[in-house]
Symmetry: C2
Subunit: 333 residues, 2 copies
Amino acid sequence: MDQIELFFAGTGGSVPTPRRGLPATLARLDGDRLLFDCGEGTQRQLIRSIGLADLDAIFLTHLHADHWLGIPGLVRTLELRGREKALDIYGPSGTAKQLAAVGIATGKTDYELHISELEAGDAIEFDGYEVEAFNVRHRGTALGYTLVEKGRPGRFDPERAAELGITDGKEIAALVAGDNVREVEPAEVIGEPRPGRKIVISGDTAPCETVEVAASGADLLIHEATFADEDDERAAETMHSTARGAAQVAAGANVAMLALTHISARYPVRKIIEEAEAVFPASVVPRDFDAIKIPFAEKGEPVLLRPDDVKVEQVGAPQFAEAAEEGSAKSEN
Amino acid sequence: MDQIELFFAGTGGSVPTPRRGLPATLARLDGDRLLFDCGEGTQRQLIRSIGLADLDAIFLTHLHADHWLGIPGLVRTLELRGREKALDIYGPSGTAKQLAAVGIATGKTDYELHISELEAGDAIEFDGYEVEAFNVRHRGTALGYTLVEKGRPGRFDPERAAELGITDGKEIAALVAGDNVREVEPAEVIGEPRPGRKIVISGDTAPCETVEVAASGADLLIHEATFADEDDERAAETMHSTARGAAQVAAGANVAMLALTHISARYPVRKIIEEAEAVFPASVVPRDFDAIKIPFAEKGEPVLLRPDDVKVEQVGAPQFAEAAEEGSAKSEN
């Protein structure tokens, strides 16, 4: 797998703001598209930015309205567009019942729809990576998700091999396959296995150990930060996190980058960033339509991309030209 | 009542587009705020434009997902904002059950919420106007709404009265109250009663007589126009209207202005306008965040207002500065 990129389709929390839609984060992994949470308005956020991606699966962290109410409209729109590919929806216990209440159920769409409920420890296998659910601490059942790429074998070192007299292609192939060649063992010419990239998505949660454990050594932790320090009691009461609390989890897990989401209009964003950075300097607060690209570990750190640098999925998508678009909407259309 | 203004919070149909949100039209009548339909994303459309108005009532035309899915989020957001005033939700048969399925029901909010199901002929009285439901022709039960202002008495003509020897205030008051004064009858000095302003909202419907009857002589008919002529068969199959079909209804009802909504991204808007204007010249296709102001009949025709001329409801609302807003969102926030 080459590309791993997280696109922030909605970075607000609870209530949308002029700038921030309700929670939705799209993972792009080569050709695969996974959506994590789908708040009200997510289909339009995608239509306004990269285009309505050809989703493979939707993972819900929990069933509070701001995290799932975008599903019925999205599922219906995909149908109107003539989708043929199956769509998988995963969520915590209760997901099937909640979606059925709004008419979304297996057998009720023109394309195949599968709704599966997950528990902590359940892992969904994809080609080259998996998504595993873990419990977080929020009101009611709530999950976080670990997206982890399969590890790659260690690199073959041709110089060291030549020193040991290994230059023949067949012999190299044998070593790479794990066999000894004469007295040379694979470990002498092949480096340590390279772990896959790892992204952890907290969903809504108070700071908790399960997130810290899941995120240990992750390339990217996407963690909610609903409150600033001044409201830490309210954060505790509602089982949300402050920016500082999220940063402490990121520091404990030693992640490469912390991206804060579920941002309230209550505070200047600067305050959220500063309170996080004081604890964990590699903190960012993506805006809607930003993305974070995760390169292979040996190629550097995760990078926050602005809309101009994010690839549009679909011909006819507005290429993020929000300003231009809205400007032109004021002339005759 | 002085102000009657219709604000177009969402003019798209079925599927949102970059420029058009899902159906929602806000009527502003002096201090009253009535929302007609509430598609997914309506709360954010309001937050992005005039601010989240202090709604008095929501009227649903029918229960297709694109017309009501914005309610749960909106109801929840009003609660988070500490609303105390009661909110009335009206809709066709099935509304209470559908909303209960997403947790919206009387007694489930911190403020009073009333959900009432209407049938054709049911009228809700407000101070100075009423809203009456009528049946339209769409798949399943679907209503249109007539918003009609109470009539005003005729104007007193002081010159004619003086000619008849009536100049005394008490005598004038008696005539205005309907009593004869000497041989002078009220009708000799008081003009015809002036009918109230009338706005009709079709909801989703094939062109139909009930709309034409309801809209007879209306100041404004807001009618769906999901299809262009080239797709008239599809319009008939899905029980929607073409722009031409809507214009024929407007012409038959002799309305002052026709505003087309439920606009598809399938066609250039110019085509929709042209097909309507060919039949009914006083046709407009409002864009999201446009409004139509309905003056008293003696003060002229309805006027289409662009966002710069629409009053923002609420301090802190972004004043429609969509372009500026999205532009600044690209710098640090």
